[in-house]
């Protein structure tokens, strides 16, 4: 935590608040899909719940960004009244670990689109393992479990990784990220061009 400035922590918290609201808004959408399609209804939109860890990691490019931001977003969700309560913090921690592990594998150096998409998939893997236990998915037929897992992986890569990068790049263009890693890189690139 000592490597983080207060400014970075608060900006990360602010990002987590915005996405905490978005996360909450997607729960009823998921709920409706689940009511009609069963648990697999959650899978196509599951990547949205990983997006803040991708965005924070890409903006700050520091160890812990993916993990801490996802945990904060989950905490904010509890504060706003996610009915899953304190359990959602555990879920946030588990999703954060998945994304963080991918960034750790690159020693927090590489933030290309591929790595971001892999990080989204990393969250998909850890959250799915947790879901197997929490919701007892293990009782389903193996082919159904496999279908759920593959859809979640794709969703994590596209909605988490790709969309996360698009949003962060658009933010960098506005200039508000000037004092963070991504904004600095953007400025450098602009100067060179």
């Amino acid at each position: 935590m000592s490597k983080w400035t207060l400014k970075e922590v608060i900006v990360m918290a602010a990002l987590s608040v915005v996405f905490g609201v978005i996360y909450l808004a997607f729960i009823p959408i998921g709920g409706i899909l689940v009511g009609f399609m069963g648990p697999i209804g959650y899978e196509p939109i599951f990547g949205i719940w990983f997006i803040v860890s991708i965005i924070a990691a890409y903006i700050f490019q520091k160890p812990g960004a993916a993990f801490i931001s996802e945990t904060i977003a989950a905490t904010i969700e509890v504060m706003l009244g996610n009915a899953l309560g304190p359990l959602i913090i555990v879920v946030g921690i588990i999703q954060g670990i998945g994304a963080e592990a991918v960034f750790a594998a690159t020693r927090w150096k590489n933030y290309s689109l591929w790595v971001l998409m892999l990080a989204g998939m990393g969250s998909a893997v850890t959250s799915f393992i947790w879901g197997m236990f929490q919701n007892g998915y293990i009782a389903f037929a193996p082919s159904y479990i496999l279908a759920m897992f593959v859809i979640r992986l794709i969703s994590g890569a596209l909605i988490g990784g790709w969309l996360g990068k698009v949003i962060s790049d658009a933010l960098a263009k506005t200039g508000v990220l000037a004092s963070f890693a991504l904004g600095k890189q953007y400025k450098k690139r602009k100067k060179a061009a």
Binding site: M1, W4, T5, L6, K7, V9, I10, V11, M12, A13, A14, L15, S16, V17, V18, V21, I27, P28, G31, I32, V34, G35, F36, M37, G38, P39, I40, G41, I68, I72, T75, I76, V78, M79, L80, G81, A83, L84, G85, P86, L87, I89, V90, F133, Q134, N135, G136, I138, A139, F140, A141, P142, Y144, I167, A170, L171, T174, V176, L177, S179
Partner: protein, 259 residues
Amino acid sequence: MYIHNLNPSIKAITIILSVLLLTVVFDPITPLLFIIWIWIITLFVAKVNIKKFLLFLSPFLIFAFGMFWSNLAFGNEPTNPTEVVSFWGNNIPIENINTALALSLRILAFASLSLLFLLTTNILHFILSLMQQCKLPPKLAYGILAGYRFLPMIKDELGLIRSAHRVRGINRAKTLKEKMHQYKRFIIPLLASAIRKAERTAIAMESKGFTGSRDRTFYRQFTVTTKDWLFLVMMLSVLITLIIFAWQIGYFRWYTGEI
């Protein structure tokens, strides 16, 4: 008011431990009895308003229902396929019905536990207690609290952005494609202004002497007393007793199929 005054961190830990214990249970009886127990605590000991409680619980009924029927439709091969029940002309193995019931009741048990926490805990106290009891770094704790305060500002900001777009002649979105474009137009200015506000808040906090060090005093002190541990022990021992009881009457199951 016993439940309201418990230490928030211990309350959260109790609930998370109960959830973890419940995840190994695959029979319907244990979660059902535990749900009844939680409801008694929530409604009679904590005296939560029953209307409020049911309102919060209702979305989970939909989720539990989805879980129930898809378990029947896509459940794993039963180990004992000869025991079946006829239902609307379909033969459904008893084992699958049991599992489906168990898993949907589990969702309701999780929801009830969480509501017991949410409806009796001041969330500000929860964060402060996490910092004092669970070693959450102050930088993070106050960061979260500051972020939480942005919420009404973000709502105002959304109204501003919407008006600004309208003044410039962008009409309300009608089709789904237009709506997607609209969200794209909203999210970037919204995030940009949130980041600017956050930066200003951080500067304000630092200029008032906030260092984020753990060596600090607190206006609101939270402590852990015997009654907090009592609550933890009580909740877990009830759950364990229920599991043992279900075992004794031969109902208890954990996962027995193949992975």
